[in-house]
């Protein structure tokens, strides 16, 4: 009986832990949903369920600016950044993780060094560059500039994962006469499913959330991405923070990301069951 009690206790503690985690991560989101359904003076009162919920804020968000277009812009930019980062980083990780050559350590440190640069510092230089390339107020300009912060961590993470793969795979491939390209695309990449999915997702989200570059490198409403669009949501006076509307816009924007994660989860799991890692 003691064994059963101990197990029950463990289960209970576990459930409490899970509940605490869920509450911690979800409560502000819940609060945002509640706020988005309130309007006017009701926002200043603290209540856990809105007294008279309405969808006014959601309607106003789409009416006040081309929000649908902004969402599309964000999807395009973040998606392209994630794909390009993965492609470039996978190729680089192959060299950095599986080939020994002089200067490899230095190179990794230099790539890390790029991450040390605060956004503010590269802002003016990048601005000059974007204008020189004629990419001002253009989604391509944003995609290009985001690579500056997605590439370093993508390269590092993929390098770390690719290093853990067993050497026997490589030897077998060499015996079979595979070229390095085949080795990368047919053998290593499929095994790195979880890592690719994870870093792709993180790169996507980083590009999705980026604010400073998006604010500086775009000018017209149609070219804006979501964080900037949300920051520009206006109330009826210059000082008023249209809180209800900002929350409504945030909900609209967060939901697709959550769906994305749900989709990617299958990928992570299927990568596991493929079983190649276990030899």
């Amino acid at each position: 009986m003691k064994r059963g009690a101990a197990r029950l206790l463990r289960r209970l503690l576990f459930a409490v832990l899970v509940l605490a985690i869920v509450l911690y991560t979800v409560f502000p989101f819940y609060w945002a949903v509640v706020s988005s359904l309130k309007s006017g003076a009701a926002l200043y009162t603290v209540e856990f369920l809105p007294a008279s919920p309405s969808l006014d804020n959601y309607v106003a968000v789409f009416r006040g600016q081309p929000f649908g277009r902004n969402i599309l812009n964000s999807v395009l930019v973040a998606g392209s950044v994630a794909l390009v980062s993965l492609a470039l980083a996978a190729s680089a990780a192959f060299a950095l993780g599986r080939v020994s050559f002089r200067g490899r350590a230095t190179l990794l440190v230099v790539i890390l060094g790029v991450s040390m640069f605060p956004q503010v510092a590269v802002l003016s230089g990048l601005f000059e560059l974007i204008r020189a390339l004629g990419l001002y107020n253009n989604l391509l300009g944003l995609s290009l500039s985001y690579l500056i912060f997605t590439l370093p961590f993508t390269v590092w993470v993929l390098t770390t994962f690719i290093r853990e793969l067993p050497i026997e795979l490589e030897e077998a491939a060499v015996i079979d006469g595979a070229t390095p390209w085949i080795m990368l695309t047919r053998i290593f990449l499929p095994l790195m499913g979880p890592a690719l999915a994870t870093t792709g997702l993180l790169a996507f989200i980083a590009a999705w959330n980026e604010f400073l570059f998006a604010l500086t490198f775009t000018l017209t409403d149609e070219m804006r991405t979501v964080p900037v669009a949300i920051a520009l949501i206006t109330g009826s006076s210059r000082f008023e923070l249209p809180w209800g509307r900002i929350m409504a816009a945030s909900i609209v924007v967060t939901v697709p990301l959550i769906l994305l994660v749900l989709v990617f989860q299958r990928r992570i799991v299927s990568g596991l069951t493929a079983g190649a890692v276990k030899g």
Binding site: L112, S145, E164
Partner: protein
């Protein structure tokens, strides 16, 4: 594979990075050695290290450095601890795991400026929900001004940052955990190790590389922090980070020379801290594949 083939694989990534990072970097270093101002960008003179000397002599700069280091240390530690706990929880097989993972990612998915606004509102002293809750529970007598009080402001920012970026660490650790084969745990049970022992003796050493990557990148991000502090506390000197200081000089005061020097100094500080982390974290940089 030959070294030359290796460099060929590196080329695409390196050329993009040089273009997008190299040029702006050089430009900033150049400007840091001049007295350029934003409104007269074509007319400036070289002043050598004068900007750096002025920076070293500015007590507000060192205050910003100290704020940033404290913020990064506390923030990253909390994130790693919580992230590992959450990852371990999610790794267990249970019902609704998918939904839980999605829930966990919510803080990360919300744009920083929005979550900063959201928390700023929740932490508001007069009608924020946090104070309301604490008052109702009887834990405090008077509402606390979380983001206004000079002594509390920095920790309010830490709390929001931890909430926001723990998912990043959790996700990386989770991916590493899921690559660990089950046999290891079976062996541990046979050996009589409890869950805690199994964690410290088996799991932790194996996920160490991935964990260190997470720590390093989180530390880098934390030392570069800008959005969060700017939105929650503005340019307030008690919670200003190095980036807030640099931006204020560069953009608000239009002092391109001095601001660029501050930005380069940020890089140096971060480089130093990272070097320490890499050394003590025993991260393999040049090691071969196993």
């Amino acid at each position: 594979m030959s070294a030359r083939a290796g460099w060929l694989f590196l080329l695409p990534m390196l050329s993009v990075l040089t273009l997008v990072a190299g040029w702006p970097l050089l430009r900033t270093i150049w400007f840091s050695l001049t007295d350029a101002r934003l409104d007269t960008l074509d007319a400036y003179t070289l002043v050598g290290l004068a900007n750096y000397r002025a920076l070293v002599a500015d007590p507000e700069w060192w205050r910003a450095v100290w704020n940033t280091l404290r913020f990064a240390a506390v923030s990253v530690t909390l994130e790693v601890v919580l992230g590992v706990i959450i990852a371990l929880t999610l790794n267990a097989r249970m019902r609704g795991r998918g939904v839980l993972r999605a829930a966990m990612l919510i803080p990360w998915a919300i744009p920083t400026v929005v979550s900063a606004q959201m928390w700023g509102w929740m932490l508001h002293d007069q009608y924020g929900v946090i104070n309301e809750g604490l008052l109702r529970l009887g834990l405090i007598a008077e509402p606390i001004a979380w983001t206004a009080e000079p002594s509390l402001a920095l920790w309010a920012v830490v709390a929001v940052d931890v909430w926001k970026t723990t998912p990043f660490v959790a996700l990386l650790v989770l991916a590493a955990l899921q690559l660990l084969p089950d046999e290891l745990y079976e062996a541990a049970e046979v050996d009589g190790l409890g869950p805690v022992g199994a964690f410290f003796r088996i799991t932790l050493p194996l996920i160490w590389p991935a964990l260190m990557v997470a720590v390093i990148f989180r530390a880098l991000d934390a030392m570069r922090v800008f959005d969060l502090m700017y939105v929650l506390t503005g340019n307030s000197r008690s919670a200003a980070s190095m980036s807030v200081y640099a931006r204020q000089q560069l953009v608000d005061f239009q002092d391109v020379g001095y601001g660029s020097a501050a930005a380069i100094f940020v890089v140096l500080v971060i480089a130093l801290v990272t070097a320490l982390l890499v050394t003590f974290g025993r991260v393999r940089l040049g090691g071969d594949a196993r």
